[in-house]
């Protein structure tokens, strides 16, 4: 039986393959972008707007910083306690158009040794974990110099 792909959190990303993007919201009055999405209020204190529209974020950005998790994170992060923990790289990415930094996991197989501040990466679809019926999907950052 095939697993049903389901976003780990609704509304943060959409699309497959080359159409995959993170999703934020943008204020129709001042153009401020929010990720995770703001739904009912613009947080720019100089803006009286409240009308927000969904907007895809830039697919590519440059590494602001990076690290990794050498120890198993606690719940609600889901891991299989029967398997050894594999360190997972985390990348904070600066998106030029949005002038913001977005954190994400690196694609599997990428370690901190492969990364450098300033390196270009792109958002790609990924799997966070799987259970009996569901494949929980998420976004991952992949260096653009790497083909999966």
């Amino acid at each position: 039986m095939s697993l049903t792909p389901t976003p780990v959190v609704a509304g943060l990303f959409a699309g497959d393959g080359d159409d995959f993007t993170l999703l934020g919201t943008r204020c129709r009055a001042c153009a401020s972008v929010f990720f995770p999405r703001e739904e009912f209020n613009c947080r720019n204190p100089g803006c009286q707007g409240g009308d927000l529209e969904e907007v895809p974020l830039s697919r590519r950005g440059r590494i602001w910083s990076y690290t990794d998790s050498r120890y198993r994170p606690p719940s609600p992060y889901v891991t299989n306690p029967e398997l050894p923990w594999e360190p997972c790289a985390l990348i904070a990415v600066e998106l030029e158009a949005e002038r913001m930094v977005v954190l994400g996991q690196a694609v599997p197989g990428i370690t901190v040794a492969d990364l450098a501040v300033g390196m270009e990466v792109e958002a790609v679809p990924g799997v966070l974990h799987e259970d009996a019926e569901t494949s929980w999907t998420t976004w991952k950052w992949r260096p653009t110099g790497v083909t999966a």
Binding site: S32, N44, L103, G104
Partner: protein, 404 residues
């Protein structure tokens, strides 16, 4: 200099007493640690608990309901005596919020003598969010989607410093070496053993580039201060008390462009220009302005060294040196005992481990003892002005300036 009697913006309150329960992993409840600290602070002040008109508790999220109403919990444990009660929470900045609330009550005339208490009993391992599925809670989100623990954020900040300022892991290790040497002199510290740079380098990587000995532990501990009006201090026979001259509890300004715990993204600067100074610098500046002093007036600083690299960041945010010069200041020896501006003479979080609601109060205890000349082997000679600084999750600035 302002410490010789210049008026702050808001007026001063006296620190009549300071007390702590030693930090460690004691396996008992937070109420016990808080009561021990409170009794020590009252004894230090020479006051009976029944003379306290208001009690302020810094909450803990780890003790169930009693932790959410810490003020009442401590008041009951000390023996109900009718005092006004307040409980506050601001993550790591809870202690400074409690001190500021006490100050506000004293300066407005609502209370003459206020007891401020914070205590925690920390779990082993990483802090984790409250239970349940809460996609709207950034703290839940970062754990659920990214497995991003607190040390992961410390690792991001450390790597950024290495890339932008040229800091090295050896620089970070030297912060631990300094703080461990100072903590060895402090009877309230959890870790009282000197540490070598080789030992830091040999400890396990937790969140690249930071190792276990770069990152502060989570601890049990309790701290308390007794604050009063200057008039009460005089009547009580304390002519020259340590005085709190400023408490900064500022929030960030939009857009906050430094990735901040527990967020998974920064604000966007596309529609509004960021302020000239990052959030942490604004915390210190607000305190300096309120106190009418500058970084050049400081005798010592107690900063929130959640990691070794973050201590270097605080040097710059407090204006002890220019941006990117933190490691140089450390290497010069300026921030150790005997240096130009000793930082974390207490041993810092490196030696204590974090007991969240107690930590900012513990910083005030250390500054109080230093300004009294009562800090024993770790005394900063001739200390007259001290600052404490920390930052709580979810946008809580915290800094206290005390003078004598």
């Amino acid at each position: 200099m302002a410490a010789d009697g210049g008026d702050g913006v808001t007026g001063e309150v006296a620190v009549l007493g300071a007390g702590m329960h030693p930090w460690g992993k004691w396996g008992r409840g937070f109420v016990e640690y808080g009561v021990v600290a409170a009794r020590a602070a009252l004894a230090d002040a020479g006051l009976d608990w029944r003379e306290v008109g208001s009690v302020i508790g810094a909450n803990t999220v780890r003790g169930g309901y009693p932790g959410y109403v810490a003020g009442a919990t401590f008041a009951k444990a000390l023996g109900w005596q009718g005092a006004r009660v307040t409980s506050v929470y601001a993550a790591c900045a809870s202690g400074a919020q409690a001190v500021n609330t006490a100050r506000g009550q004293i300066l407005s005339g609502l209370a003459e003598v206020v007891l401020v208490v914070g205590a925690d009993a920390a779990p082993k391992g990483f802090f984790r969010p409250a239970g349940g599925d809460r996609p709207g809670d950034p703290d839940w989100l970062r754990f659920r989607v990214l497995g991003a623990t607190n040390p992961a954020y410390f690792g991001l900040y450390a790597r950024r410093r290495m890339a932008v300022h040229g800091d090295t892991t050896e620089d970070f290790a030297q912060v631990k070496v300094k703080n461990a040497a100072l903590g060895a002199l402090n009877p309230y510290a959890r870790y009282r053993k000197r540490v070598t740079a080789e030992e830091v380098a040999a400890s396990a990587v937790v969140a690249d580039p930071l190792r276990l000995l770069d990152i502060c532990a989570t601890s049990d501990g309790g701290a308390a201060v007794v604050l009063s009006s200057m008039e009460f201090a005089r009547r009580h026979g304390v002519a020259d008390p340590v005085r709190i001259r400023a408490v900064s509890t500022v929030t960030p300004r939009y857009p906050n462009t430094v990735l901040d715990l527990p967020d998974i993204a920064t604000d966007s600067a596309v529609a509004a220009e960021p302020a000239d100074e990052p959030f942490r610098s604004s915390i210190a500046r607000a305190a300096y302005e309120e106190a009418g002093i500058g970084p050049e007036d400081l005798s010592l600083a107690e900063v929130y060294d959640l990691s070794t690299a973050l201590e270097l960041q605080w040097y710059e945010d407090l204006g002890l040196c220019g941006e990117g010069e933190g490691a140089k200041l450390l290497r010069e020896g300026a921030t150790t005992l005997g240096g130009r501006i000793p930082v974390n003479a207490s041993g810092g979080l490196a030696s204590f481990g974090e007991a969240v609601p107690a930590q900012a109060i513990a910083q005030v205890c250390e500054v109080t003892w230093q300004l009294r000349g009562a800090a024993g082997d770790r005394q900063v000679a001739g200390a007259r002005v001290g600052i404490t600084a920390n930052q709580g999750l979810f946008g809580h600035g915290s800094a206290v300036i005390a003078v004598r």
